[in-house]
Amino acid sequence: MSAKTVGFAIGDDERALLDELVEHYGGGNRSEFLRVAIRRLARDRRAERLQNLQQEAREQLGRVVTPDEVRVAIAEQVGRVA
C-alpha cells in the first residue's frame, strides 16, 4: 500500500488539543492518529445510518415488534409452521 502526504490546516487554538489527541490515540504519530480517526468516523457513519433506519421502522410500525412476532413472520414467509 502506498502512502501519500496530505496537508491539513488548523487554527492555533486547536493545536494543543490536536497534540493531546495525537498522543492519546496515535501514540504521538499523526498518521496513526488519522487512521484511528478515519476508522472511528466511518464506524459512526455506519451506525448513524442503521440508527436512522431503525428509528424510521419504529415510526412506521408505531411499536416494538417482539421476537415471537418476528419468528412467526419468517415462518409464514418461508412457508413453515411457526
Binding site: R46, L50, Q51, Q60, R71, Q77, V78
Partner: protein, 163 residues
C-alpha cells in the same frame, strides 16, 4: 485476525424492529441491552474482531419478512442495502452459496448453514432453536444472539485487560 460470522434472518429482522437498545453502540459490560440482535450488528460495525458475511437468500428473506411485519417495502430495501454496503465495506461478502447442507430438518436452516459453510464462518448466530440445537456444527459455533454478544464482550474485556 477477524472471525467470519453469519447472522440468520431472525437476527437481522430483530435488529431493525426489536426492543430499545443503545444501538448501535455496545456497552462493554454485560448485560448489554434489551436487543441482543442489534448488539450483534453493533459488534460488526467496528470491524475489530468479527467479519460479517451473508447470502442473497438471507437478505431477501429479511426484506420480505420485514414487509410482512408492516415495514414499508422501500425501507426494507434500504435496510438490506445498508447491510450490503456495511458487509462489503468491512471486507465481508454477500454470497450465493451452493446447496449442500441437509443436517437440519428445516430447509431454511440448511440455507443458513450453506452460507456459513461457503463463508467459512466460524460462528452462525440465530435465535432459531432448530439451528442452535445443532451447536457445535461442523467445527463451527451456532449461538443465540445473547450468547454471541456475551462471548464477544468477554473476549474484548479479556484482550483489553491483557493490553
Amino acid at each position: 485476525m477477524l472471525t467470519p460470522v453469519v447472522y440468520d434472518v431472525n437476527v437481522l429482522v430483530n435488529a431493525l424492529v426489536g426492543p430499545d437498545s443503545s444501538y448501535p453502540y455496545l456497552p462493554r459490560i454485560p448485560p448489554t441491552t434489551e436487543n441482543a440482535a442489534a448488539d450483534c450488528l453493533a459488534i460488526t460495525l467496528d470491524g475489530d474482531d468479527m467479519l460479517l458475511f451473508s447470502s442473497l437468500h438471507i437478505l431477501s428473506t429479511t426484506a420480505t419478512a420485514l414487509v410482512r411485519l408492516g415495514v414499508g417495502a422501500d425501507l426494507a430495501q434500504r435496510y438490506v442495502g445498508a447491510l450490503t454496503d456495511i458487509i462489503t465495506e468491512l471486507g465481508g461478502a454477500v454470497l450465493d452459496p451452493p446447496r449442500k447442507t441437509h443436517d437440519s430438518r428445516d430447509h431454511e436452516d440448511n440455507l443458513a448453514l450453506d452460507c456459513a459453510l461457503a463463508a467459512e464462518a466460524l460462528i452462525l448466530v440465530s435465535s432459531d432453536h432448530d439451528l442452535t440445537s445443532l451447536n457445535p456444527w461442523n467445527g463451527r459455533l451456532i449461538l443465540t444472539p445473547e450468547r454471541f454478544v456475551a462471548h464477544v464482550v468477554a473476549g474484548r474485556r479479556g484482550s483489553s485487560s491483557r493490553g
